[in-house]
Amino acid sequence: MCRRLSLDVEKFQECTRLAVCQSLLFLPGRCSWISLPVMALAPPSPQFVLRGSQSAVNTLHFSCRSKAHSPPLLFSGSLGGLIHVWNLETRRVDTTLDGHAGQSVYWVKTLEGQHLLLSQGRDLKLCLWDLAEGRNAPVDSLSLDSVGFCKGSVLTEGTQGCWLLAVPGKDMDEVQVLDMPSKTSVCTLKPEAGAKVGMPMCLELWKPASSSGPLLLAGYEDGSVILWDVSERSVLSRLACHEEPVMSLDFDSGRARGVSGSSEKVLCVWSLDEQQNLKVCRTQELTNPGIADVAIRPDGKILATAGWDHRIRLFGWKQLKPLAVLDYHSAAVHCVAFSDPGRPGEQLLAGGSKDQRISVWSVYNQT
């Protein structure tokens, strides 16, 4: 399993997707699997769809909260190696950034408003872009050693312009934490020799209000989630919650609860107690296996998942109550993202798919 994944996860996903398609055949049509409390009348449709990325969309990132007069933006990284900057007002591409030599871009993230952009690509490079005043060239880049698909994670420190970056490290099961922009390594987090967790699959850096040091949540290839104390370089807790690799996780630090999805059918919600122990508090069975991405809305009310079965699913985050199935895409959904909380009623959800489209939804905004 490890070998195969590290060889080519894309191929692997493709295989799984085929299986998913077969399982689709046994579904009773293309209808939703639960009754929708709000939109029971008609299946919801996206507010709009962004076309023109011209290859599969791997990752999405909203940037709406910024100074006045600059429109809300959506960044998308595509399989073709381009980063598109979508203007959500005109619903068109403002800028296209090409900095990964045609290699798939699988993580984008803005820092300090809309101007600094981080992007991570399959060319084993992490680029830092300065987009102020219409610039469109990378100002800095960092070579990565891992060939996996693990997205990085960023934690902005208090001091101006300094931030922590977690990326998969040189060894297969390693996570490297760097101090940016100086690029000095803070530490390398490597599980004990016998742990056999495999590669890290997803990372989430965060800093609890109580504790002093930053913590890191990492999902691994063997299906376990490990909580690291970055400053102590020690494992605080390990939770084996999936049978298959953890594809994505998101953490709600307010409620000290997180969620992870894997290539299997189960969505797992776990919580963190005072003793910094992770424990499963709920699992949710899905119709079809394969969750590419999970995202909790910044207001902590909604959870969205991106499914290999072409669908985006919405859950109430508190009770994990299924709310809706957003059925629009015609290929696997690779990523979901929520916009920063703007005015109430204007929180958007975006899903990027292999079918090269990005669907933008305005759902459950009344609450």
Partner: protein
């Protein structure tokens, strides 16, 4: 005549006549005096003034009755003296004044004496001159409390003259004189202006006469129409000068509270008035009644100069006395408001200036009282408006609305005071809504349909035509008026409201009305459109600049919300025709729209129209719905203009609905929608609708795709998709790729109900693809052509060989021919020499390379993939049970083949699969389908060439030959009508296509013979000309494929020449056509043979 300058000389001359006059008072003596006076210089006369006046005055004062002529000449003489001199003594002035006045009075009655008109005129002119000859302050001595009775007498005298005399001259002079008497003369001879105190004293004094003067003048003004405008003008002038002087706010402000102690005797003091607040109020009230009368009368006076003077009156009074005449301000303003659009341009202009002047001085805006009055007027007008609108004729309505417009203009930003009162707003909006009710009984609008493909591109490719919002292309018909001017006026009123009014409030209110009932909806939408235009300041003539207007951001917000309302499901998709388009979705849609219909019916019942009692209510409501949509479309155009380039952002929601309507079947709607697009182009700086669509294809695609996902709503989606494809270029393709997949998916799911509309979409898509990617076609064709040409040359070569055979040196050629033949035979048998192989070697690698590329599926260009997918569906749908569908499928199929032609590896397998159903279409189907299928076959032959040869020969050729043969006798016998039948068309098509088909398919011997056999019959002269031509074309093609055989076949039929063998050892040539007499085939055969030889 000599002039006597020195007083001495003058005295010498005047003395005798004066003495004479003193002695005997006759007209002659007066005249003598006057004639002498003429020769005396002014300065001399000034010195002798009193001396000369004495005999004259003496004559007047002499007791006893005098002849009128004498009095008259005396008065004239005095007037002459006064006109050249000035009076420097108060006494003299007063005495002369009273003496002159007395001339016209009978001593014992109040009435003026019954004297001749000449005398009256002379006296009046005398008084006039007297007033002007008073020197400096002397004149003021006339205006002392003690002289009040005299003054009063003179004034009443003059008023009586002005009122009661018949002669116009007297009347005008009397009025002029009165004006002078009231010290309001407007001539240049009064250099000295009164100071404040004097003014006040004079005002106090004259105030006593105000009631008398004003009532008398009012009587004069409102008297007979026939008295002429000159008198009215003078009277008006005196009126406003007097009132404006006595009631001037400036003066009144300085009046002390308490009455001063009168310094004159009691009797006179009683006459004096004190202009305290109480007096001002009472007088103001009374004057208001008079002014109202005057205003009412003069504002409709037929002569424009009278109306002009009225404006002066209003201007003067409003400037000077708006506080004291508070009660009249309403009436006065009404004049301005009403005359602002007077038919006379001078009046209009003057009125506008006055209004502007007021506006500039911010008189209305800053005076709360005035605003109140105006709003009160506006309110009462709004209240009366509905009644007036239904009772007045068009002219009446016009002036009423003019008034309304004037009030709005005058109120300016203060109009919000009125609008903020719920009652006022309701009145106003109800009135507007009522007036704007449309007449929806015209059946034509419902019936006029748009036929044929979309003419969007050509109809509006040039933007030279003026934008729609300027010249409303379609005239609207209203229930309550027919005059177009009224509509324009109403528009201006709405714009004015939008310009000054609180836009949020108004838009809210009218949106509410819009949603309240179908009855109001159209009018409310019309008003909303104009409000926005007004708010954006489009074509608004304003008096006040306002800074409270909505900002661009607010405007955008408001427009967005109205737009949302307009294009919402329930307001945009209305039933406009009762054509059932035959698919289920439409029906269900109809069902959901039933409510609209029923409510429409409701409208018709609510306002029963006498003329339309027999019209079905359905037609009514459909007409109403059509207008509704048109008005909303116009609105969108209007919004675009209001926002300008900013509207581009709204295109993401607005463009799709507009395009939908541009493709609507109802003519009017599609026209208006096209106009709206032109509007949008103008506003958003696009060159043409095509440009507009092209630049915003992404927004359209988004809407289309979302709609395709919700099938129930998308009955219009195919239309939009079609229009979009017609107007875009290849750059669109990446965007629509997934939409086309959606279409195919929908087609798969709903092919029963929606196949027709989707097939037309697919046809558009493929036509566009064929247009966008022609280069591949060119390459291939070029190649093909070259190839054919080579082959043709080869044949030509052999043909010339054959021909040359008989005439030129035969031996070597025969030898060469035999050698060639042997070698070809060797090649055919497979005995290929190495040398031959070498020649062909460069070719294989090339073909290999070509072969390798298409094998990689992923590298297929998008257009090819699409064409392939579409062709797949066509294969299934070729055997659809609906003929129309089959026909459409055949069209699409043909286009698919065109697009796929450069990808043989994709094309041929598809053709293989399509073959069988196609054969069915060709062999046993409706003639229409056969015809179309044959066209497809020709295209296929063109693109696939020999791939089809065997199939064609096996499956189709026999049947074609048979049908041609069986049909031939029919056409040979048929009359001229036959050429309109389907059978003829089929024959023609087959004959026209068959030739090139044979060439493309490269048919061989036996099959060619079959073709030739089948076509031979059509060379008969009995066949219709067109068929003969077509048959000849078949043979022309056959000649190119195989000239020898063709030559032989033709000669078999008819041989014009005898062929002598060149050598006796050869058999004589015998052809069955030899030496035959002329037959029905002869002409055509000869033509063809000539072609073959030439």
């Amino acid at each position: 005549m000599a002039v006597f300058d020195s007083p001495q000389e003058a005295f010498g001359i005047l003395r005798p006549v004066c003495i004479q006059l003193t002695k005997t008072q006759t007209v002659e003596n007066v005249e003598r005096l006057q004639s002498k006076l003429h020769v005396v210089s002014d300065s001399a006369l000034q010195d002798l003034q009193e001396y000369v006046l004495f005999p004259l005055r003496f004559a007047l004062k002499t007791p006893g009755t005098k002849r009128e002529s004498l009095v008259q000449s005396i008065v004239e003489c005095i007037t002459f003296v006064l006109s050249t001199t000035c009076i420097k003594k108060q006494d003299l002035l007063q005495e002369l004044f009273s003496e002159l006045c007395l001339c016209l009075s009978s001593p014992n009655s109040q009435q003026s004496a019954p004297v001749s008109e000449e005398l009256k005129l002379a006296v009046v002119q005398g008084l006039h001159t007297l007033m002007h000859s008073a020197y400096g302050d002397i004149i003021l001595s006339l205006y002392q409390p003690c002289t009040l009775p005299h003054l009063g007498f003179a004034i009443s005298l003059l008023l009586t003259l002005a009122e009661q005399e018949k002669s116009k001259q007297i009347k005008t002079s009397a009025l002029k004189c009165l004006q002078v008497l009231l010290l309001q003369c407007d001539c240049q001879d009064h250099p000295k202006l009164l100071d404040d105190i004097e003014t006040k004293q004079l005002g106090d004094l004259l105030a006593s006469f105000l009631p008398g003067i004003s009532t008398a003048l009012t009587r004069i003004i409102t008297g007979d129409f026939k008295q002429g405008h000159v008198i009215i003008i003078s009277a008006l002038k005196v009126f406003y000068k007097t009132v404006g002087f006595i009631m001037a706010d400036e003066q009144l402000a300085r009046i002390p509270k308490d009455k001063e102690k009168p310094s004159v005797e009691h009797r006179i003091a009683e006459l004096m008035v004190h202009r305290d607040a109480n007096w001002v109020k009472n007088t103001g009230d009374k004057l208001a009644a008079l002014i109202e009368k005057i205003v009412e009368f003069v504002s409709v006076h037929p002569h424009w100069k009278a109306r002009m003077e009225l404006i002066e009156l209003v201007q003067d009074l409003l400037m000077k006395c708006r506080q004291s005449l508070l009660k009249s301000v309403g009436h006065l303003l009404k004049v301005l408001v009403g005359l602002v659009n007077d038919e006379n341009p001078d009046v209009q202009c003057r009125c506008n200036n006055v209004l502007k002047n007021f506006a500039d001085q911010r008189i209305v805006v800053e005076s709360r009282a005035l605003t109140d009055i105006l709003s009160e007027n506006l309110h009462s007008l709004a209240t009366a408006l509905p009644r007036l609108m239904s009772s007045q004729d068009d002219q009446g309505k016009y002036s009423t609305l003019l008034l309304l417009l004037g009030y709005l203009k005058l109120l300016g930003p203060k109009v919000n005071f009125v609008l903020h009162s719920v009652a006022h707003l309701h009145r106003l909006s109800k009135a507007l809504i009522q007036v704007l009710e449309l007449d929806v009984t015209d059946v034509k609008i419902v019936e006029e349909r748009r036929w044929g493909p979309d003419g969007l591109a050509e109809s509006s490719s040039s933007l030279s035509e003026p934008p729609l919002f300027k010249s409303k292309s379609q005239r609207k018909y209203f229930r309550f008026f027919t005059d177009e001017r009224i509509f324009l006026l109403l528009r201006e009123i709405c714009r004015m409201l939008g310009y000054y009014g609180d836009l949020y409030l108004l838009v809210d209110h009218f949106t509410e009305l819009y949603n309240e009932s179908v009855i109001y909806r159209k009018q409310a939408a019309m008003i909303l459109n104009e409000l926005i235009a007004g708010a954006a300041g489009i074509e608004v003539e304003v008096l006040h600049e306002t800074n409270s207007r909505a900002s661009a951001e607010e405007l955008k917000e408001i427009i967005t919300s109205i737009l949302e309302e307009y294009i919402s499901q329930k307001n945009w998709y209305l039933v406009t025709s009762n054509e059932a388009e035959g698919n289920r979705e439409e029906l269900t849609m109809k069902h959901s729209d039933l409510q609209t219909i029923t409510s429409g019916v409701h409208t018709c019942h609510l306002v029963p129209l006498p003329s339309s009692s027999e019209l079905s209510p359905i037609v009514c409501s459909m007409n109403s719905n059509i207008w509704q949509i048109c008005i909303q479309l116009e609105g969108i155009g209007c919004f675009a203009h209001a926002l300008g380039i900013e509207f581009r952002l709204l295109l993401m929601s607005a463009l799709y609905p507009v395009l939908e309507k541009a493709g609507d079947k109802t003519l009017l709607i599609s026209q208006v929608a096209t106009g709206t697009m032109v509007d949008i182009c103008h506003a958003c700086a696009y060159d043409s609708p095509r440009d507009l669509i092209n630049h915003n294809a992404d927004y359209l695609v988004n809407e289309i795709s979302l709609n395709l996902h919700q099938m129930s709503l998308s009955s219009h989606t195919p239309i939009v998709l079609e229009i979009m494809f017609q107007n875009s270029d290849a750059g669109l393709l990446p965007l629509v790729e997934d939409v086309i997949q959606d279409v195919l998916f929908s087609l798969d799911q709903f092919h029963d109900e929606r196949a027709a509309s989707f097939l037309s979409v697919l046809r558009t898509v493929l036509a566009a693809l064929a247009r966008w990617f022609p280069e591949a076609k060119d390459d291939k064709q070029l190649q093909e052509q070259n190839f054919r040409k080579e082959k043709y040359d080869l044949h030509q070569g052999s043909a010339t060989l054959g021909k040359g055979f008989a005439f030129t040196t035969p031996a070597e050629e025969i030898e060469q021919f035999l050698l060639d033949y042997l070698r070809n035979k060797d090649v055919a048998d497979g005995n290929v020499s190495d040398a031959d192989n070498e020649e062909e070697q460069p070719l294989p690698p090339e073909t290999e390379m070509n072969d390798v590329c298409p094998d990689v599926e992923a590298s297929l260009p998008v257009q090819t993939q699409i064409a392939k997918d579409v062709m797949e569906r066509c294969i299934h749908l070729l055997s659809d049970k609906d003929l129309k569908t089959r026909l459409k499928v055949l069209d699409v199929l043909e286009l698919c083949v065109t697009v796929l032609q450069s990808h043989e590896n994709q094309l041929l397998p598809m053709v293989h699969r399509a073959w069988l159903p196609l054969v069915h279409r060709l062999t046993n189907d409706d003639p229409l389908a056969v015809l179309r299928a044959f066209k497809v076959l020709c295209t296929l032959g063109n693109k696939c060439g020999d791939f089809l040869r065997n199939r064609f020969c096996k499956d189709i050729l026999p049947k074609l030959a048979v049908s041609l043969a069986t049909q031939a006798p029919v056409s040979a016998r048929a009359g001229p009508v036959y050429s309109h039948t389907l059978a003829f068309k089929l024959q023609l098509a087959v004959l026209q296509g068959l030739g090139s088909l044979c060439k493309k398919l490269d048919l061989g011997g036996g099959d060619l013979n079959k073709v030739a056999d089948a076509c031979l019959i059509y060379l008969s002269a009995k066949q219709p000309m067109k068929l003969q031509e077509a048959a000849r074309s078949v043979f022309l093609h056959l000649m190119k494929v195989d000239p020898d055989t063709t030559w032989f076949i033709l000669n078999e039929l008819h041989c014009p020449l005898l062929y002598e063998p060149p050598h006796p050892s050869l058999h004589p040539v015998s052809l069955s056509g030899m030496a035959k007499p002329r037959t029905e085939y002869t002409d055509n055969v000869l033509l063809l043979l000539a072609e073959l030889q030439g």
